[in-house]
Symmetry: D2
Subunit: 152 residues, 4 copies
Amino acid sequence: MAAVAPSQPADPGFAARTAAAFHAQGLMATIGGRLVAIEPGRCVIEADFHPGLTQHHGLFHAGVLTTLADNACGFAAMSLLPKGGEVLSVEFKVSFLRPAAGLVAVARGEVVKPGRTLSFCRADVVVRDAAGAETLVAAMTATMMAAAPEKR
Amino acid sequence: MAAVAPSQPADPGFAARTAAAFHAQGLMATIGGRLVAIEPGRCVIEADFHPGLTQHHGLFHAGVLTTLADNACGFAAMSLLPKGGEVLSVEFKVSFLRPAAGLVAVARGEVVKPGRTLSFCRADVVVRDAAGAETLVAAMTATMMAAAPEKR
Amino acid sequence: MAAVAPSQPADPGFAARTAAAFHAQGLMATIGGRLVAIEPGRCVIEADFHPGLTQHHGLFHAGVLTTLADNACGFAAMSLLPKGGEVLSVEFKVSFLRPAAGLVAVARGEVVKPGRTLSFCRADVVVRDAAGAETLVAAMTATMMAAAPEKR
Amino acid sequence: MAAVAPSQPADPGFAARTAAAFHAQGLMATIGGRLVAIEPGRCVIEADFHPGLTQHHGLFHAGVLTTLADNACGFAAMSLLPKGGEVLSVEFKVSFLRPAAGLVAVARGEVVKPGRTLSFCRADVVVRDAAGAETLVAAMTATMMAAAPEKR
């Protein structure tokens, strides 16, 4: 494994590259996802609550929390890749810890172990209430692959 | 564990109950999810491809496939519960096997091991092309809990 | 991905190669693991119950069931690789469905989606009683990587 | 969910209770597991390297790392339960980050979210070399259930 220090991205243009990929995702527009922060090995994505994002109790759907966390992990991994680097989600697991009742869902992803081929990432998802207080509602671990689809 | 045979649902009204929950989910309307089939211990949900559901290569986003699979597992579990029974997603893992290029994404969920408190479920997600051919693109295993949120 | 048909292993000597790796594992001797079957893309491993394999209720420990399933998945993946091919466990998830009370634990692994780099595998673990009846006690999904450690 | 503060265990005798369960596990004697620390919501378990714990490259087998992490999570969860409380592993996922070459494998488990029925736990597994340096080799997330087997 290349010892990529998170503070030294292989591509100085990592922020523009990941932002371009983020904005090319139709789903982010559909659910109102916002790319809040991208640093080497870290990414924060959030979405405001609205009735189009709910499960049947009127809370954030697990699928929305997962989508945000998947992107937070994926773009965290992408930020450390060389120019032109892309990522695929190989797999992820998400645990749902509490009902996701809040005004904003925030997914914070980080690369725990970068690799030339595979990166191991983690994301926490919190919901924020009107007072700005945060509650941890979900936790993801993910394997991301640096590869074009045909390489897999 | 109550030995619930999949062919003998505890609630004869299971189909209407799960359909009502499905249609109460704002996210299903947002992404165009359709409840295609609900049987005791089994559920099929699908969504047509459109540009609002994509990742940055223009294919179905992993978050969409996961949302469909989560619901397919959750409603499969709900179908076996007594009247009034609700389910929560405790956790799930999804593996992404191939690029999800197709016209329709179809998630087929089933309960492998029903339980009074926890049910172990699995879902396969395929994409269907214009000729009706299916390709397996994702596989989920999930733990579903029969509980009101406060019981957890 | 190379379209490797499970019935046409890339290496005709796959059985001897996987058996050699199995027998080189000190842990298999320690827990009494037996390589019962190896076919292209499939592997069965079992171990007899004894008090040295237990958790604190005197049943098979989850760690033993997992070890058998990990090997069943890993060797199933290895069976499809070209000559000299090795596998690493990237990750696995195991769900425990019932108490593992029985005389023999049997893990049956299979490759669901082989790949040049990554293979997606599944294993079921059953326990067998004195009458030969089997009970499903655990289910694994695993990502296996075809790679030497330094390539990762 | 009962708001159990990790520093206020429901059972003051938690340490003796978890230690008794640990020592009742035949597998811990078989692989040389040691209960190094047990605090409310935290547990550390380790095992020295020896050839009976290896995979086919002579390193710690993934099954050994998993066994240690499963116990570290399980006993961390058990430490927060009321008197007589037992835990079952519902499921866990483990990611393997680096080859596990070292003299000692150390699993450190903690309860991230305790619950009356389910607890969400995490464990990191490191290997320690002769100089005492540690390398992170595996990471687990686990769902533990407070229940007798028949309650599940």
